[in-house]
């Protein structure tokens, strides 16, 4: 069975999934959170994320509100319906209080407006990455 990790470098990485059809956003999130110890996986659609979730449980999911296959809020609701209690953060380029409120009601821990997402993302995700690393230690 699994061997007990003795060295921090042999531990499986903490996975953070970012779902955004814009590859630039995926890359910039990877650049931002990678150095903090996360293995950032980028997906363009809700469907790709849902497929991935059958094999992995990320520590955190970052979702753009406008996805090609379903609204980001619907994805949040779907995650909840499946009983997945993964901290989720929504990104949006639209300045819409209604979207923000819906996202928070659907269980998001934060709703961050593009394009200036870096600081808020680090504030929310860094502690999650830390906790994820510790719980596996």
């Amino acid at each position: 069975m699994a061997s007990r990790p003795t060295d921090i470098h042999t531990q499986p990485p903490v996975i953070v999934c970012v779902v955004d059809p814009d590859p630039l956003v995926q890359r910039s999130v990877a650049r931002l959170l990678g150095p903090l110890g996360a293995a950032v996986e980028g997906y363009a659609t809700a469907g790709e994320l849902l497929a991935r979730l059958q094999f992995a449980v990320p520590a955190c999911i970052i979702v753009e509100n406008r996805l090609p296959d379903m609204p980001g809020i619907a994805l949040l609701q779907e995650l909840r319906a499946r009983g997945l209690q993964i901290p989720t953060i929504m990104l949006s380029g639209d300045d819409d209080v209604r979207d923000a409120v819906s996202a928070m009601r659907a269980g998001a821990i934060d709703f961050i407006e593009k394009p200036f997402i870096d600081r808020a993302l680090v504030t929310q995700v860094a502690p999650i990455i830390d906790a994820g690393g510790r719980s596996r230690g």
């Binding site: 300045d95 209080v97 209604r98 923000a100 409120v101 928070m104 009601r105 821990i109 934060d110």
Partner: protein, 205 residues
């Protein structure tokens, strides 16, 4: 006991908004009181009064968010409907993280606001009914003797009378008598009901 009807407390620094909301809410028969600042509302605040708060998120002096924080600090349960404008998403998110019930973005339709207010009033009624129920259960629990309390604790942990008798070093018959008294004093119709009441009472503590 005579209670004042549920009141809509409107807090907005804009005179025109206060006036129009006062007229709107009166026109649909909702009692309304308006305040020009968060501080004025806080000074007049009475936790016993039922109702809801319609609060402008952006105000000079104490902002709507700060007022929400103050109310949270004193464990006020009054539901808040925030009025927001464009560009207020970060503030709305913060208010949600701190338990706001709803938001309405300017400019809004009158009916939208009234719907949200009615939902907030319903929530306030539920909250107050819950608190009342909790108080009643705690009152009943205070009327138990120390021994009955002990039996209650054991019973609600799912222990059988025989086990409780052993733990308390009394006869099983004594436990049965205490248990019957506990059920009677608590007004419990079943063990499940008793357990629910104890959980409810402890949630408040």
């Amino acid at each position: 006991m005579k209670e004042k009807p549920a009141t809509i407390f409107v807090v907005d620094d804009d005179d025109a908004v206060r006036t129009s909301l006062r007229l709107l809410l009166r026109s649909v028969g909702l009692p309304v009181e308006t305040f020009g600042s968060a501080q004025a509302f806080l000074d007049a605040f009475d936790a016993e009064r039922a109702g809801c708060l319609v609060l402008d998120i952006r105000m000079p002096g104490m902002s709507g968010l700060e007022l929400q924080q103050r109310l949270n600090e004193i464990h006020a349960i009054i539901p808040i409907v925030f009025i927001t404008g464009h560009g207020d998403v970060p503030m709305a998110v913060e208010a949600m993280q701190h338990g706001a019930v709803d938001f309405i973005q300017k400019p809004f339709r009158d009916q939208d606001l009234i719907d949200r207010i009615n939902q907030a009033l319903e929530k306030d009624r539920d909250n107050r009914a819950g608190l009342k129920e909790r108080d009643a259960i705690q009152d009943r629990m205070r009327q138990l003797t120390p021994r009955e309390r002990e039996v209650l604790e054991h019973v609600t942990r799912g222990k059988a009378n025989k086990v409780i008798a052993g733990d308390l070093n009394v006869s099983q018959r004594t436990v049965e008598i205490h248990r019957a008294r506990v059920m009677e004093k608590m007004g419990a119709s079943s063990l499940a009901h008793l357990v629910r009441m104890v959980i409810e009472a402890e949630r408040a503590a």
